[in-house]
């Protein structure tokens, strides 16, 4: 691309003196470099979108801060958006229907403070589900997202035994009307993917965008300049079951 740009420029404006020639060269080189760098700078801005053949990077670690003071009891916009966005249809059987994100309301035993919050896969740095999976179907992407490889999950449910957050669901029934971006299958285990298909296109998870109160701040934990990192530096946040030292990617404010 650089090459073409410099050629066309040369044809339009042919310099005569040596000085002018040097200035022209510097301008063309600058423009070329700018053109070359522009897309990558642009990509940085839109949440590290990547092309399909580009590998995910360890330099990014996706995470989320949930401000529980903004999360209204009784509101389940994030849950609905998740179900719709990922094609999760229930069968009216709450004990066996899948749930990738759920609303939980808790009360402090001592103070009586009531808090409502969404709970989903916490995308741990050291995920117990990945440790116990016999086939390696449970895995952590380089960018911190914990996923299930549907091709090699044998449906043993050991990961569900291991998860401290009960974040995983087993698909108990035949799946219909699947979304192309969220392949699912009866007899395998699944959980929140942080809407990985959207992240790869530079977009945000649907729960975060669906939250009318902006209670879910999504971003790159590794980037000190991201809005998420800046907020985490300013406010105190909680990890669920911090005693286990799993370093979850999801943090809660006001819990």
């Amino acid at each position: 691309m650089n090459h073409q740009v410099s050629h066309s420029a040369q044809n339009e404006d042919v310099p005569h003196s040596e000085n002018a020639r040097r200035q022209f060269f510097l301008k063309v080189a600058g423009a070329g470099a700018g053109l070359a760098l522009a897309p990558s700078l642009l990509l940085q801005q839109v949440a590290h979108a990547k092309t399909a053949d580009q590998a995910v990077s360890k330099e990014v670690r996706w995470g989320m801060l949930i401000d529980t003071s903004k999360c209204a009891q009784g509101c389940d916009d994030c849950v609905k958006a998740c179900s719709e966005g990922n094609g999760l249809t229930g069968h009216g059987r709450p004990e066996t229907d899948v749930q990738w994100v759920r609303k939980v309301t808790v009360k402090d035993k001592q103070t009586g403070k009531v808090t409502s919050l969404p709970l989903m896969c916490q995308h741990c740095e050291h995920p117990p589900c990945v440790d116990v999976c016999p086939t390696g179907a449970s895995f952590k992407r380089d960018n911190g997202i914990v996923l299930v490889d549907k091709h090699i999950c044998i449906g043993c449910r050991y990961c569900m035994m291991a998860c401290p957050y009960k974040a995983r669901s087993f698909v108990h029934e035949v799946v219909e009307d699947q979304k192309a971006h969220a392949p699912r299958g009866k007899g395998t285990v699944e959980s929140c993917t942080f809407c990985v298909h959207k992240l790869d296109q530079g977009e945000q998870p649907v729960c975060a965008t669906a939250c009318g109160e902006d209670a879910m701040l999504f971003g790159d934990l590794n980037d000190p300049d991201s809005a998420l990192s800046k907020r985490l530096q300013q406010v105190s946040s909680t990890q669920l079951r911090a005693d286990m030292e799993l370093n979850p990617g999801v943090r809660y404010q006001g819990l």
Binding site: V104, K109, P128, I154, E173, V174, R241, M244
Partner: protein, 401 residues
């Protein structure tokens, strides 16, 4: 007198009736496995809260018993107790068949049993489950070689070595089975190393009880003599095993009772857990521990064959109850996701005791595993000389070292 072995004749109507009934149970169980697989697991009692159910109780029961059954051979080979040596062949055979029955249940309960080949070829070596696949397959192979060396005259000089390897392997195997639970950091019932030795001792007790029941029934059915002296000797050892399991169960619960954050879980199992409390106190403690010990060591009744049969059967009930309490009870108790807080609302059953009502399908699959193990045992003894012609006390000399 020299011990001789022979195949079952297998010509009597009784032989075919037994095989026919077992085959029918196995076929019905395989049918229910197909139904569960076809419809999806929502037709079972299992859910996203209780992810392992009745099939896993049956499977672990058989797997744990399998490794324990091999003890009979090990006591003869590794510890040199002559009275146990005639039982070595049958012990090895049953160790293989019981394990096969247990594994059949586990595999058929997978969400994707068709992906067994994936489980056999794709490994995550940090997973204790992966290690167990190696341990189970290795056990089948090692015990197979052990049996071959025991039964093939030319190889007999090597069989003590094979017996030693098999003994060590079986200890590691049951440690691995217990660690499937011991390595689960998130749940109050698990996350403790004591589950490994508890499972090892439980295997000693269940294995010996299963073996005793089998030889009592099989020798009587085949009209082969079985001496009460030998049974009494094995019964005494079984009593020690039962008491040892009890010791580990007591230590497990005492440790939890000392830790304040485990009090709610202990109250659930010991006091207010409904079916789990009932199975613990009545199933495991009363029926599975106190009753068999009282029967075994009763001065008069304890000396009879009925005492051995009854006591062994009660031990199986107790072991089954204990596994139910550990496996299902451990999952039913709610996960502590928010320490210091109580859950007042959740769409996913957070903070409440999970309910579990086993379905008929799960039960039938479990029974199929037992049937498969027994069919393989009966056919094995029909095809090859695993069973001694006589275990009369005059031949075996149960008082021998």
């Amino acid at each position: 007198m020299k011990i001789t072995y022979s195949e079952l004749k297998g010509k009597s109507p009784g032989f075919f009736i037994v095989l026919g009934v077992l085959a029918a149970i196995a076929a019905i169980g395989l049918g229910s496995a197909y139904y569960m697989e076809h419809e999806g697991h929502h037709v079972t009692g299992m859910s996203n809260q209780i992810v392992w159910g009745l099939p896993h109780i049956f499977a672990l029961f058989l797997i744990v018993a399998a490794s324990g059954i091999l003890n009979v051979a090990s006591i003869g080979t590794v510890f040199g107790k002559k009275a146990y040596k005639p039982l070595g062949r049958l012990s090895g055979l049953m160790a293989i068949t019981m394990l096969a029955g247990g594994l059949a249940i586990l595999v058929l309960d997978l969400g994707r049993p068709d992906r067994l080949v994936v489980a056999m070829t794709t490994y995550n070596f940090k997973s204790i489950f992966s290690w167990n696949i190696y341990l189970y397959n290795g056990f089948l192979l090692i015990v197979g070689v052990y049996l071959w060396m025991m039964m093939e005259r030319k190889m007999q000089k090597y069989y003590p070595y094979a017996g030693f390897v098999a003994f060590i392997w079986r200890l590691i195997l049951t440690t691995g089975t217990g660690s499937i639970f011991g390595f689960l950091v998130a749940r109050e019932a698990y996350d403790t190393a004591i589950l490994a030795p508890l499972f090892v001792l439980l295997s000693f007790a269940l294995g010996m009880a299963v073996f005793l029941l089998y030889i009592i029934i099989a020798f009587q059915s085949c009209d082969r003599p079985l001496g009460d002296g030998l049974l009494q000797r094995m019964k005494k050892l079984l009593g020690i095993f039962v008491a040892s399991v009890f010791y580990f169960v007591v230590v497990y619960h005492l440790t939890n009772l000392y830790l304040t954050n485990q009090h709610a879980f202990e109250a659930f199992i010991l006091l207010n857990g409904g079916i789990y409390t009932f199975l613990f106190w009545v199933g495991y403690i009363l029926i599975g521990t106190i009753a068999p010990l009282a029967i075994f060591y009763h001065p008069t009744f304890g000396q009879t064959r009925h005492a051995v049969t009854l006591g062994s059967a009660l031990i199986l009930v107790g072991g089954w109850s204990l596994l139910y309490v550990i496996i299902i009870g451990g999952q039913a108790f709610p996960l502590e996701i928010f320490p210091g807080k109580e859950v007042i609302e959740s769409s996913f059953f957070d903070g409440v005791v999970a309910s579990y009502a086993p379905s008929l399908w799960e039960f039938l699959l479990g029974m199929a595993g037992i049937a498969i193990a027994l069919i393989a045992t009966v056919l094995g003894t029909r095809i090859l000389p695993f069973m001694p012609d006589t275990l009369d006390d005059a031949v075996v000399n149960p008082q021998a070292d």
